[in-house]
Amino acid sequence: MRLVAVDRLAQQHGLTSRQSLGDARALVPNLIAREVDHDLLTALFADFADWHSYASPIVAVMADRASYGDLVLDITGVSYLFGGEEAMLQRVTERLAQLGFAVGGAIAATIGAAWALAHYRPGTILASGEAETLFTALAELPVAALRLDAEQVAGLNRLGLKRIGQIRDRNRKAMTARFGHGLVERLDQALGHIDETLRPRLPPVEHFAERRFAEPVGLLDDVLMTGRDLAIRLCLQLQAAELGARAFHLFLYRVDHKVTVFTVNAARATRDPAHVARLFAHRAERLTGEFDPGFGIDMIRLAAGDLCRLDATQIGAFERRDGTEDLDHLHDRLASRLGSRAVLRLAFVNTHIPERSECLLPADETIPVDPEAEPDPDRPRPLRLLPQPELVEVARAEVPDGPPAGMVWRRIPYRFVKVSSPERIAAEWWRDDFLLSTRTFRQPTPEEIAERKSREPIEEIKRHPIPSRDYFIVEDEAGHRFWLFRQGFYTQATMPDWFLHGVFA
């Protein structure tokens, strides 16, 4: 067990992170140690990252190096809003410090340099982005400031390379051979020779409208009303840019450093404020339980995402109405209230296996049309398919592989008077996951598993491990029509299972 982080008091007693707990206890017998809660830290950092989008649109959490995580803000072009870089750094770190966190921060031109300075020289602001300036600032820092692995740091230290300044002019090939590619890459990243990109937690937004409140608001109605106002402002912006958006995000910045995001999607690009406001109203109805203003909301931002060009269209007189717009609006309203997985359309997949030959996709997505996959209307198929085929008991046919004479389904017996000839559907051997499994249909009981194990698998099955299905259309005396299939074959040792897969009209 090792220490992950130490507070100021512990530092004064000579404890450092990465020290083993035993050593630390020897130094400070009354040490209070807590196990690190990674989930909590991740959640906390995610909240912080979202909340800091008030300062800059691009915020990311880097969890790869430090055991607790690093918050990275791209402040290109935004520091003037806070009165300069110095003021911005002070304001951002102070707000966190007021909440009782120990914060170290720095501003530099590269992510690597900023990380190194924030961890080893907090408070530094390095305005220039030139490699030489960066190098002078970093030269005296220990090699660990380059975000290296523990083994890499230990290896470098063993060779007496303790400062960043010592390793820059070494033979790069030899260094790569000895310490891996990571070392040279990290060095180049810190000095700005190669680019490093951030993965922002929130989708980047180009068009948004926001409102800050003097007094925090807490009522859902207030939020929705503000949302409506913002929608009008945002849509004017979009109109000026001749753009439409397919996604709208409403960010609620809470006083206590949390951000709630509500997202609605539109089936087609829109900039109609009334429609957007209505979608948010429906969305709010669905999730009143999710809405938690905490101690209040001090800023609301409405952002448009998924932008595309939308030219001005004629509405009102001489309008062409073909219904698609009405239908898209209906889809949006239904999806915003019921969730996007509630409004669906059929898409066909090119396969013979009945349950895989189609899938339901959200109606607002573009449905791929594959002419090969379109179903053949001449092939008899049931009007309703059971999502999970149901196991039925079938009286053994007169001849092996022959049609069934009757069945028991949902505890009701049926006697068939009409049976079609079988239609064999075999597994698709050219696919990876080609096996037609019965596993998904029913979990076998332990006795059944034991029984199957006790049976000796015969040669036939060994040679053909792919079961095929024989589908029958059956009709009973009253006129109920069903789609039955037999999975596998009758052999000397095995009895195949029968399933009911669908009902005919």
Binding site: D322, G323, P377, L383, G479, A505
Partner: protein, 273 residues
Amino acid sequence: MHGLQKQSVLGDLRAQIAAIEKRPVLAEGAAMLRETAGAGFLVAPPGLMHEVHAEETRNAAMGLAFALGQARTLIKPERPAVFFMQLMHEAQQQGLPYGAGLASFGFDPHDLVFVRVKTINELLWAQEEALGCKAVAAVIADIGGAPKVFDFTASRRLAMRAASGGASLFVLRYGAGREASAAQLRWRIEPAVSGEMRFDPRAPGTPRWQVTLERNRLGLAGKTHETSWLSWKNGFELAGNRKRPPAGRVAGRGAALPGAVPAVLGRRLQQTA
């Protein structure tokens, strides 16, 4: 002008006027039902609320088939969509409409929009919302149990929505009980032994059902029909009428129904025929 053509043009004009005036087409519908009842099978005009009762959930496909067959006559270029709504947890009990099955039945699967919800309240809301849309031809709601929320008041709301919006609502219900409802038409569907398969006498052939009109607020109730669905002809046919050629059958088009609008019926089948 050919008589039939004239009739369909007149029918179109009537529907257009009704759409413009936003007036319920009930009065018109009653006349139309009376007209078609003598000749063949009833085809209901738009803007009505139907209840389709099946004895048990194993007959779910028959109710759906009947509703789809009626709904398909209502699809127009400016009303392209039919909605199917179901509670998510009832999908296994009743089965989900199957795309390939719809195609072999004669219904274009791309016209159907699925709405899968968690609660009955959401289902009612979604029905109302869809019925209010000008681009929806019909809404088919599959309700497995007998939920308390779906009472007379709720059905009255839906019936009024359907009348004002001009889309038809088909509520598929199961079981022997009949609750108070504001539906204008109530049908009972029972299975019947299928027709003959031409090449294989032992196999099930053309699907047939017994359809009873239990209630008709527009007049004429209590008549039982044995009906076949002929997908290649695109329409219902009375099983008794098999010897006669279907009345509305125009060469190249596939309407077996008097009163139906042939051009709309067989959009896909026209191409294949």
